[in-house]
Symmetry: C2
């Protein structure tokens, strides 16, 4: 039993949030499998927004991350569970406020006290993940810092943009070569 | 050039939001391809949260929705673009405040004035998408209404839960058999 759905509208109507909620309901609360993908047009509010959702009783085969190039671990159990999967020579980024004993060697280690940077320097621990994104992008350039700043401006409530950008830049400068 | 990442932590640290921001930066603002998937453990705040992100310069092959069983169209251009893909006998749900001329026939049509229901009956057009989710689940049961209500409680800011539930239930009753 599988249902394929498209939810499409224009920016601001919440089409994509509807798809995310549907996927969450299916996977977290209905014990089904779901795959949700989405697209925005480059015009933001007013541009086209569409999400594709597959909901199925059977597993959906898609390209999984098996051996990551980069592991960001924000809690000790994340190291325990995912560090063994890290590629040899891969990058491990850890929140050193949360994880005091990183694994021994064979990888590039970046330790950042992101929780305390967020709460003490930026003033709110809620932006810990933005500090983490900053150090991730500073260290790997997996996306450009410019693209990430645009994504923050696009995704975060207007009143919170400055705080999020500040946290991102603090993390970025922490590791940027 | 492809980078596979895992961002893992516990609920409340924003690991999954970090993955979403990274995917948005890559796809919308960096002209790359990305696939982001995620998992929460059943314990919410404090439980494990993990997101897998693939960022690539080349297309990433994953199971796409080609011929949907259900199309939700919130704007006329969504009908124009995606209705030709709908499976014969599929379900088309349209916001009748936005779309005045549905395509002629060969499918199950549900018309709901979701924008005006949200703005006039619920008091805020921002929950138009919740009215739409209600009618979608009432008509298709693609997930259980109970799972959707749990997903709303899980995903929406606490002060907005009641409004979102009210909008969802109004849409659900609109079409529920």
């Amino acid at each position: 039993m599988r249902t394929d759905l498209i939810i499409a509208g224009v920016g601001g109507q919440g089409s994509i949030m509807a798809g995310t909620l549907l996927g969450t309901a299916a996977v977290v609360f209905d014990n089904k499998k779901a795959l949700q993908t989405q697209a925005y047009s480059s015009e933001l509010r007013g541009g086209a927004a569409v999400t594709w959702v597959i909901i199925s009783d059977e597993p959906i085969v898609y390209p999984r991350v098996v051996h990551p190039d980069v592991l960001v671990a924000q809690a000790p159990q994340a190291v325990t569970r995912y560090f063994p999967q890290l590629k040899p020579g891969g990058t491990l980024i850890i929140d050193s406020d949360m994880i005091h004993e990183p694994p021994p060697n064979g990888y590039r280690l970046i330790q950042i006290p992101s929780t305390s940077i967020a709460s003490k320097e930026i003033g709110n621990s809620i932006v810990t993940n933005l500090v983490i994104l900053g150090v991730l992008i500073g260290a790997t350039r997996v996306v450009s810092p410019d693209a990430m700043e645009k994504a923050i401006r696009f995704s975060v409530p207007k009143s919170k943009i400055d705080m999020n950008l500040k946290a991102f830049r603090r993390g970025f400068e922490f590791e940027s070569p």
